[in-house]
Symmetry: C2
Subunit: 323 residues, 2 copies
């Protein structure tokens, strides 16, 4: 059995605990947290203090790092890769090359394997962009996200003075997707591809119109989109807008022989974003441990890993059953 340590226990860490339960070949050794262990309620996994991690090198095959990309992972992944094989979901696209270089150096020096930036985007969506563009070089790739909750945009709403709580949905323009699939060539702006819908709970006595204006004009987050804002009660938000669905589409449309239309479409429909992301992390944790067993040390992304490494089945069985 592959023994997994879960480092950090929010929604993603809990998703990893759930995902490991579904595998025939992996088990959770424990959860490691910066909080007081007795305050962390898992689904059964033992909880340890983060500073104890180093004492369990013999009991752990791979650490799945479930912290955030803003401050946790840039520090944690290189640090923990000194002592363990690691998997993370670092998703600050612009900083991936830097993160990769840092982790790769540590992994090679300390004979570890680290799979960085996995999940669904970066991750499965990246894979589909790569396969599609390699197969149909004369073509155009578009990625659409949603319908789903964007944590980053929800957080941006909650940082506004006068907003008590909020949930933001990213909504893809399905009309545009259908036109592309029908073979139309479109010049698409940011505004054409997605809408944004916000459900906002106001603090008492706040001017709703002022808040709406502040939201729709917020640079980077909302100014470039058509944004709809609904003011609702905390009760309604709690009841209808606290789930974490997400998903999206990678659509590559191309031509062969100058004008023969060909299209490749990859869709995800996710009831829970963190539980799905966690499931991807767990499959790549299996790959990570296999690569370490083959002494192929260093940092990896989804681009570097042959698909067979993700499966609990041996490759002869895969050829027989799935090819």
């Amino acid at each position: 059995m592959v023994k997994v340590a879960i480092v950090g226990y929010g929604n993603l860490g809990r998703g990893v605990e759930l995902a490991v339960k579904q595998t025939p070949d992996m088990e959770v050794m424990g959860v490691f947290t910066r909080r007081s262990p007795e305050t962390v309620k898992t689904l059964g996994a033992a909880v340890f203090r983060m500073d104890e991690l180093i004492n369990y090198q013999l009991e752990i095959d791979v650490c799945i790092l479930c912290g955030g990309s803003a401050t946790d992972l840039p520090e944690q992944t290189p640090e923990i890769t000194h002592h363990f094989n690691t998997v993370d979901s670092f998703d600050t696209h612009a900083k991936i090359p830097e993160h990769f270089a840092k982790v790769d150096a540590v992994a090679r020096e300390h004979q570890k394997v680290s799979v960085i930036s996995t999940g669904w985007d970066p991750g499965l969506f990246s894979l589909n962009r790569l396969y599609a563009q390699s197969i149909l070089p004369q073509g155009q790739t578009n990625t659409f996200w949603g319908k789903g909750v964007s944590q980053g945009h929800s957080d941006a709403l909650r940082r506004i003075n006068g907003v008590a709580d909020a949930t933001q949905y990213t909504i893809p323009n399905t009309e545009v997707i259908e036109k592309l699939k029908a073979g139309e060539t479109l010049e698409l702006t940011t505004r054409d591809k997605h809408f944004r819908e916000c459900f906002v709970v106001l603090e008492a006595g706040v001017d709703a119109e002022k808040i709406r204006e502040e939201i729709v004009s917020m640079p980077n987050y909302f100014a470039d989109y058509d944004t709809e804002v609904h003011f609702i009660s905390q009760e309604e938000l709690n009841q209808n807008h606290k789930a974490m669905p997400h998903g999206g589409t990678v659509l590559h449309t191309g031509v062969t022989n100058g004008e023969t239309k060909q299209a490749i479409e990859y869709n995800l429909y996710l009831g829970s974003n963190p539980e799905f992301t966690a499931s991807v992390l767990v499959a790549y944790a299996r790959a990570c441990v296999k690569l370490a067993a083959e002494q192929k040390f260093g940092a990896y992304t989804v681009f570097d890993i042959a698909p067979k490494y993700l499966s609990p089945k041996d490759v002869a069985t895969l050829r027989r059953e799935l090819l």
Copy 2:
């Protein structure tokens, strides 16, 4: 530049010639044929007699084998892999393990790389079955083909006494696909998943009703399906039913946390089946040559090849642009 030999020049071989033209890093060295070279009309590639192939070992990096799975490839792939790196689209699912073993032995002995059974099914669809099942082990995978022309079923129609020509379309049951995507769990029979539609040209004086009966009751090909038969003229068949569109869907529906619904869907919409299949072969021919350069000799399927090998771009560029 990677130098490609095209072995066999039917629709697939012609598709390979077209696909190589779209790449920045590959070129066609020539076409090798069992026909008289002067009777083969290419899009510009030089044509050679098949028995000359052996004389061009220094001019060829990889042979893309464009023969059929019934009789050509079981012989050709092992034979040609004695002297060349090879890529084939062997698609007799039940015989893949045997084909793999035979080609692998030759490739290892003669220090060559052979990528077998690539294309879209087996190939890209197989990849999607593997990724999806590895990520959501508690789930169900269904593959749907079409709407598109099945050469095998069209050939079966043409073998019937009294049939002059015919085209058969495989049509997926989109209602079933939508139900699965909505999270329903269905027990599906062969009849539930696909319909078959036949456009048939009769020879003069043939009893149409007798032919229709013979078609819809034909074991393996039509008996297990709801099959519609249309009798049309050769002119109408030539005008409307000689294109080779195809496509299909791999749909994996699963759960996390016992009941949270998650779905992964991969769709292909292909204006030309042979041109698309050829585009996949060409991307894997690039991978084949890279693997040979790394001296990783042996037989491979799509399961064994890290995605980065398919791209003409280096992996640092891929991380920056596509991850």
